[in-house]
């Protein structure tokens, strides 16, 4: 049971971070379908930091790993920004490209450094047993992960930012009615860039959080198994509102956690369902949820439409 709660919380943390990233990007008017790829690259940044940083100071480790993930995520998301904000590319197409590119680039890169270190090593794995311990505080068998705290903070910060600050007001104006924002002197391109970069930072954080959730070794060929997409479902279920996103993430996290821990529950184990069924659950649930909620969806009105200063 404790294990279930632990997994639920950590997977929810991943989903919250990434979904908030998507939420901010969409509030600025850009659909970020590339979150999956951004997570991979963020995870790569964090994993590299863990591999090469020889510190035994847990604080420095946690801080620098998060920072690396954020920086990698932001840099990678700027590819989305350039294409979709400045060159008005199809956001779905570019997002898809980033997802494919993320996994391919991370694999090529990790294999290259593994091969460089040891000519016989052609794997795409990075191992971080020692570093991972620094992220975890063991409280009576419950593994508290610092990312759980980060996720809670992120929810509060994003909510305050969207609803209480000048920046939030302007950001949302760009996603709802960019012409109106422009007419009062708000630079739509700048705000959308801000939205995309923040989503890159949060996506990157979510990525490193995901690979630290349950294992101490990551094979980059596998990507992040659709978590970026799940986060998008969480975002829609949460109706683009931070607190509702947090609740949605808890629900989805629970389903994901069940697939890791169902063996531990006699009642579930007795059902003798294949493990794949639990893997499928979050996707099926989100599909059903979307079917019932999409009619009344309150998505930002201008999302997905490239802003062109000329057409007003």
């Amino acid at each position: 049971m404790l294990l279930l709660i632990q997994y639920t919380l950590i997977f929810s943390s991943v989903l919250v971070l990434v979904a908030l990233g998507g939420c901010i990007s969409e509030h600025s008017g850009v659909i970020n379908l590339g979150l999956e790829g951004i997570m991979v690259i963020g995870a790569l940044g964090g994993a590299l930091m863990m591999r090469y940083l020889g510190t035994s100071n847990a604080f420095i480790m946690v801080l620098l790993v998060m920072l690396a993930a954020i920086v990698f995520g932001m840099l990678y998301s700027s590819l989305l920004g350039v294409a979709c904000i400045n060159f008005k590319a199809d956001q779905t197409l570019v997002g898809t490209a980033l997802n494919l590119l993320g996994t391919a680039a991370a694999t090529v890169f990790v294999k290259a450094i593994n091969t460089a270190a040891n000519p016989d090593d052609h794997s795409s794995e990075i191992e971080y047993v020692r570093a991972r311990k620094m992220f975890i505080v063991n409280i009576n068998g419950f593994e508290f992960n610092w990312f759980m705290l980060v996720a809670v903070i992120a929810v509060i910060v994003v909510a305050v930012m969207l609803y209480k600050t000048k920046f939030g007001l302007r950001l949302m104006a760009c996603g709802e009615h960019p012409q109106a924002a422009d007419s009062v002197g708000i630079n739509v391109y700048k705000m959308r860039w801000a939205g995309v970069l923040i989503s890159g930072a949060l996506g990157g954080l979510g990525g490193i959080c995901y690979i630290l959730a349950g294992v101490s070794l990551w094979k980059f060929e596998n990507g992040v198994a659709g978590f970026g997409f799940l986060a998008l479902a969480v975002m829609i279920f949460g109706q683009w509102k931070p607190y509702r996103i947090a609740l949605a993430a808890l629900l989805f996290g629970l389903f994901r956690a069940l697939s890791n821990t169902y063996v531990g529950f006699p009642a579930l184990a007795a059902l003798n369902l294949p493990g794949n069924v639990y893997n499928m659950m979050p996707y099926i649930v989100s599909l059903i949820v979307l079917a019932f909620t999409s009619k009344t969806s309150r998505a930002p009105k201008a999302e997905g439409i490239p802003y062109d200063k000329g057409s007003r």
């Binding site: 494919l100 090529v108 294999k111 290259a112 795409s124 829609i236 893997n279 989100s286």
Partner: protein
């Protein structure tokens, strides 16, 4: 020259070539960074693919392999471009492909069906998945991209579960069709003779090409194509003109799904590949289909060539120097190409602007020459 450049078809072609060159260049730069020594040779090998072999026979044989794998890719790209013309982004083609794979393999291995029923079953499986996306879109307003992605993962885990029943005991792979039920293998119809007896060259090759042409005709010459494209371009106008908008959306995604599902059978029923029942990511065929569709300028005939090219460099990945590099470099190149396809609109606009500017210059020159003439 300028007149040629104004033609939208030519513009699409030029834009695609620019994307390809830039994609390869970026791939080369990545290789240079990893290890400058073998980079040039490796990138050339990626481009040469089967031409890397010296013996003509081997070349033909490998050419056949690439060709065999091009067909499912072509089907996926047709699936995507067909939906895209109707204003739908069928990212779910990947899952429809998985559903097709699962259907034809299970029918072949567990039920012992012949190749034709297996193929139709795969087509139907893809169509059903497409219908779900279409239904959710038209009845519940669920974005087809999101539902498509969800169904991709659902169908992956479902396929893993179902195909586990027909897998080899010792490995995670499904059994060989040729051992269990050779009647499910697609007939070669003598085509293999042209490719040094490459057994994977089957009727799938001409069939896929015919379907590409059929899709072209359907979209550009028929009443149905007129209606579907109108729905895609302006669904309000389509509704105003009395077209059944919801039916068109569902119909489009059924056709789109059927194409992807059929595509899967064109690979798995040749016996070229087997399903790995423990795979944890959705096969890339559906996603590469996006690359091929856009690289081909969203034209079914263009898709034939772009699909071959994408498959060509994907296969070329195995010829890199694996002492330094990994074969995923081709995945990297093709994803860079998809990314660059996002800029195609911009490239075309720039071309048009350049043409307009030079024309205006010319017009002005003529005008001023004329007025000067008048002054004298």
């Amino acid at each position: 020259m300028k007149k040629v450049l104004k033609n939208p078809g030519v513009q699409a072609f030029v834009a695609s070539i620019i994307c390809i060159i830039l994609g390869l260049l970026i791939g080369y730069i990545v290789l240079l960074f990893i290890n400058p020594e073998g980079a040039a040779e490796s990138i050339i090998n990626v481009i040469k693919n089967f031409l890397t072999w010296n013996r003509a026979n081997k070349k033909l044989q490998q050419f056949g392999n690439t060709l065999a794998k091009t067909m499912p890719l072509l089907m996926c790209s047709l699936s995507i471009l067909f939906a895209y013309k109707v204003g739908l982004f069928n990212i779910g083609a990947a899952g429809q492909y998985v559903a097709g794979s699962c259907a034809c393999l299970y029918a072949a291995l567990a039920w012992g069906w012949g190749w034709l029923p297996c193929m139709i079953f795969a087509l139907a499986a893809g169509a059903v998945l497409g219908a779900i996306v279409g239904f959710l879109k038209s009845r519940c307003n669920v974005n087809e991209v999101i539902s498509g992605i969800m169904l991709n993962w659902i169908s992956l885990y479902l396929a893993n579960t179902i195909l586990t029943k027909v897998k080899e005991t010792a490995s995670p792979y499904t059994m060989y069709i040729k051992d269990v039920n050779p009647s499910a293998l697609l007939p070669n119809a003598g085509l293999d003779k042209f490719f040094n007896n490459n057994q994977y060259i089957t009727i799938a090759v001409p069939l896929a090409l015919i379907i590409a042409i059929a899709v072209y005709i359907l979209l550009s010459k028929t009443k149905l194509g007129y209606e579907l494209k109108a729905t895609g371009s302006n669904k309000n106008a389509a509704k105003y003109a009395g077209m059944a908008e919801n039916r068109n959306i569902i119909l489009t995604l059924i056709i789109s799904g059927a194409l992807a599902g059929l595509g899967a059978s064109m690979l798995y029923l040749t016996g070229y590949m087997r399903w790995e029942c423990t795979q944890s990511s959705v096969p890339g065929m559906g996603f590469n289909g996006i690359a091929a569709a856009f690289l081909g300028g969203l034209n079914p005939i263009g898709a034939i060539f772009s699909s071959f090219f994408i498959q060509h460099i994907t296969d070329g990945g195995q010829y890199v120097n694996t002492n330094f590099y990994s074969s995923q470099i081709s995945d990297l190149i093709s994803s860079v190409i998809i990314y660059l396809c996002g800029f195609v609109l911009f490239i075309k606009l720039t071309m048009n602007k350049m043409i307009a500017r030079s024309e205006e210059k010319k017009a002005r020159a003529i005008k001023s020459a004329a007025s000067q003439g008048g002054d004298k």
